[in-house]
Structures are given as structure tokens and as C-alpha cells.
């Protein structure tokens, strides 16, 4: 009986038939490993980095009667107003009728609001009567106008924690201030054009 040809398809090696060169089965795996580790690092970084954080805000109680509310000392008060197109304004103490203490600042760079806050802090500290708590009188009032963005509000609230301001409040803007912010915004717009 004939034997079964298990070698498959015409590779019967006879004498004088050249053997096909045996190729090595080893593959260089280095690039594959490189790629593997690259992807691993990518996934490790993407899994841990995208954790959103939360900042806490405690709203004041509107129902507290005016006479029970905390009074702010005029010397320690700083009011920050935010307008359109990332404009920012501030005044110290009370707004003068002629608006002469209504000044403009910026979010960062020169004349930044951070410098203004720090200067105010310095001043409050220098006039403080109670040496145990020199920043007691510092109160920052944040008044966003209707044209400013949510980012502006968060940036300013963030500025409070950056500069470690203990007392600050988010307060509704008065009409007169809103008008003033609007006017200044328009003035800044036309001067930049």
C-alpha cells in the first residue's frame, strides 16, 4: 500500500532537489513592545487626569433682616464689578457720586485685580486695630453685571481663594453701577477700535 503523503503539495524532497531555505520564526518584538508601553502610558494618564474638581460656594441667607446683617467697615471694603469682554472694575469703600474712585483693572497681566486685592489687604493690615486678626475688616464685594460671563464670576471667586480672602460676598449689582459699567465698557470698546 502506498503511504499517505502528509507533507502536502508537491514538496517531496528528492535527491538533488534544493531545500527551501528555512525562515526564522523569530520576529523582532521591540517595536511592538514600544508601542504597547506607549499606549499604556497614554491610558494611565488619561484615566487619572480628567477628574473634575468642585469649588464650594455658600450663599447668604436673604431672609436675614438688614439690622442683623454684618456691617462692613468702609475702610475695609473693596467692590469688584465685572463687565462685558473681560473688563473688570473696582472701587474702594463707597462709590463716590462723581464716580472718581471707579477704576478699571484686568484679570491678569498689568494692573491685575490680584494686585488690587493684595494692595487692599496690605492697607487693611496696616490700619488694623486688632493685631490678632488684622484682616478682620477686609470684605470684598463681588458684583457681576449682566454682561459678564460665568467664567468671569468663577475667576473672581477663584481669586478669593488664591489670595486667601476670608470674607467675600456675591451681591446683586445696583442700577447706577450697572450703568457705569456699561458706559465704561463702551468707552473701552470705542477706544480700542
Amino acid at each position: 500500500m502506498a503511504e499517505l503523503d502528509t507533507s502536502g503539495g508537491g514538496h517531496k524532497k528528492g535527491p538533488g532537489v534544493k531545500k527551501g531555505k528555512k525562515l526564522s520564526t523569530r520576529v523582532d518584538l521591540t517595536p511592538m513592545v514600544d508601542l504597547g508601553f506607549l499606549l499604556i502610558t497614554f491610558f494611565i494618564f488619561t484615566t487619572t487626569m480628567s477628574q473634575p474638581t468642585a469649588m464650594k460656594l455658600i450663599l447668604p441667607d436673604d431672609k436675614v433682616k438688614p439690622e442683623e446683617q454684618n456691617k462692613a467697615k468702609e475702610s475695609g471694603a473693596l467692590t469688584i464689578l465685572m463687565g462685558a469682554d473681560n473688563h473688570i472694575y473696582y472701587y474702594e469703600g463707597q462709590l463716590k457720586p462723581d464716580a472718581s474712585n471707579f477704576l478699571s483693572a484686568s484679570y491678569n497681566g498689568e494692573n491685575s485685580i490680584r494686585d488690587v486685592i493684595l494692595k487692599k489687604k496690605e492697607y487693611v493690615r496696616s490700619v488694623a486695630q486688632d493685631p490678632t486678626n488684622p484682616e478682620k475688616d477686609l470684605v470684598i464685594v463681588i458684583k457681576p453685571s449682566s454682561t459678564c460671563t460665568y467664567k468671569n464670576v468663577i475667576d473672581i471667586l477663584d481669586e478669593m481663594s488664591i489670595n486667601v480672602v476670608k470674607k467675600y460676598a456675591l451681591v446683586d449689582i445696583f442700577d447706577i453701577e450697572e450703568q457705569l459699567v456699561k458706559k465704561s465698557d463702551e468707552a473701552a470698546k470705542s477706544s480700542s477700535n
Binding site: 499604556i40 474638581t53 468642585a54 460656594l57 455658600i58 450663599l59 460665568y150 477663584d158 488664591i162
Partner: protein, 215 residues
């Protein structure tokens, strides 16, 4: 003196084992990565120096998109059911409770809630929806929503989150605050992207000296 010749060793290493480990780790990380579920509402949050991680379960989230539209997300399905039932009872809306329970977010006025729930989940996209009306203190349905949420969470801890877009205008934010205040909610958290305290600032000095941030 004849020194014994050391046999020259091959410099190639068998990479197979290393490759196996690498790909095992890779598949592990791919499988465990929780990709952000495709956001129905596109929002880019501002950054803050806060280092507290936002809670990621059992929260009540209010989203303000860049046009000032307001959406409500209630994470807890059980609470969703309670809220749907109480809305049906008090406002007589006749909403489909199972549909409400499976809805990931709410973004329609109370009167249009029924048709909102009829839209399939994939087609509920923030930019196409009207959002919860929250224009001013008189036309503010978020007050109603916060009221039912408050009732549903009575006695339990309410993790209230607010996620606003960079470009959202302040009045939208203010109207949400009005809705909170009307319901005596004074504490909430705002979702932000983490960033480092600017070098040289007081907070930076504090964190450098090892003091823990208080918030």
C-alpha cells in the same frame, strides 16, 4: 597561561514575555478606562485652584450651557422615580415614570416634559432642546424642580453641583442662584477644571508650606 574562553553570549533577548505583560496591562487599562459618556450637553468648564474632587455619584447636577439654557441631572434613579411621582401628583403632568427614570437629564419646560420624554435618548441633544425655563424670578421653573428635589432628598445629604459653561452669561447663573435661595439651599459646589495656584500668590505659599487648603 591559557585563560578559559568565555562563550560569547547572544545580545538578543526574548521579548515575548515582556510583550505579553505589556499587552496584558494595555488591555487592562483599555477595559477599565471609563470614557466620558458622550456629553449630550456640550459644556467647557472654567478652571479653579480648588483641589477637592467633585462627587461622582448620587449628585444633583444643574448644567448651564453657553446659551444660558439650564438642564437638570439627577443621578439617583430611585430619587428620579420619587420626583416623577410627586410631580405627577402635584402638577398633574401625567409623565411617564419609567421614561423619566431612564432619562439622563431633563431639559424642557414642565408643559413640554411629556414630549421631551417621547424623544429617544440618542436624539436628546442640549443644543436642540429648550432647557428648563429660568429667565427671571417670575418665570423660573427651576424653583419648582429644586423644590421637588429638596422634598425627595429630605433628611438625606444633597450633593448639589453646578456646571456652567465659560461663555454662559451671568444672569443665567443668577437665576439658578435665585432658584436655590428660594428653596433655602445655601450650599452647593461648582464643577471646575483643576489648575495650580499661581506661583508667588498667598495660596501658593500656603500649599508650599504644607498647609492644607480649607474648603
Amino acid at each position: 597561561m591559557g585563560r578559559a574562553k568565555l562563550p560569547r553570549k547572544s545580545t538578543t533577548i526574548d521579548m515575548t514575555a515582556m510583550c505579553d505583560v505589556a499587552f496584558l496591562l494595555l488591555s487592562f487599562f483599555i477595559l477599565t478606562t471609563k470614557f466620558k459618556p458622550s456629553e449630550a450637553i456640550a459644556v467647557t468648564t472654567p478652571s479653579s485652584v480648588s483641589s477637592k474632587v467633585a462627587p461622582n455619584k448620587d449628585f444633583v447636577l444643574i448644567t448651564i450651557d453657553k446659551d444660558g439654557k439650564v438642564f437638570l441631572t439627577i443621578d439617583d434613579k430611585q430619587k428620579r422615580e420619587t420626583i416623577a411621582n410627586s410631580l405627577n401628583a402635584t402638577k398633574n403632568l401625567g409623565i411617564d415614570v419609567p421614561a423619566f427614570k431612564s432619562a439622563n437629564f431633563i431639559g424642557a419646560p414642565l408643559s413640554g416634559l411629556k414630549s421631551f420624554l417621547a424623544i429617544s435618548e440618542e436624539n436628546r441633544k442640549g443644543n436642540l432642546l429648550p432647557g428648563i425655563p429660568c429667565k427671571d424670578s417670575t418665570d423660573n421653573e427651576l424653583i419648582v424642580w429644586m423644590q421637588v428635589v429638596n422634598e425627595a432628598y429630605a433628611g438625606a445629604k444633597l450633593d448639589l453641583l453646578l456646571k456652567g459653561d465659560n461663555l454662559a452669561k451671568y444672569p443665567a447663573f443668577k437665576n439658578v442662584l435665585v432658584a436655590f435661595k428660594k428653596n433655602n439651599i445655601q450650599r452647593f459646589q461648582m464643577i471646575t477644571n483643576p489648575e495650580n495656584a499661581p506661583a508667588g500668590s498667598e495660596l501658593y505659599k500656603k500649599s508650599m508650606s504644607g498647609e492644607k487648603q480649607e474648603n
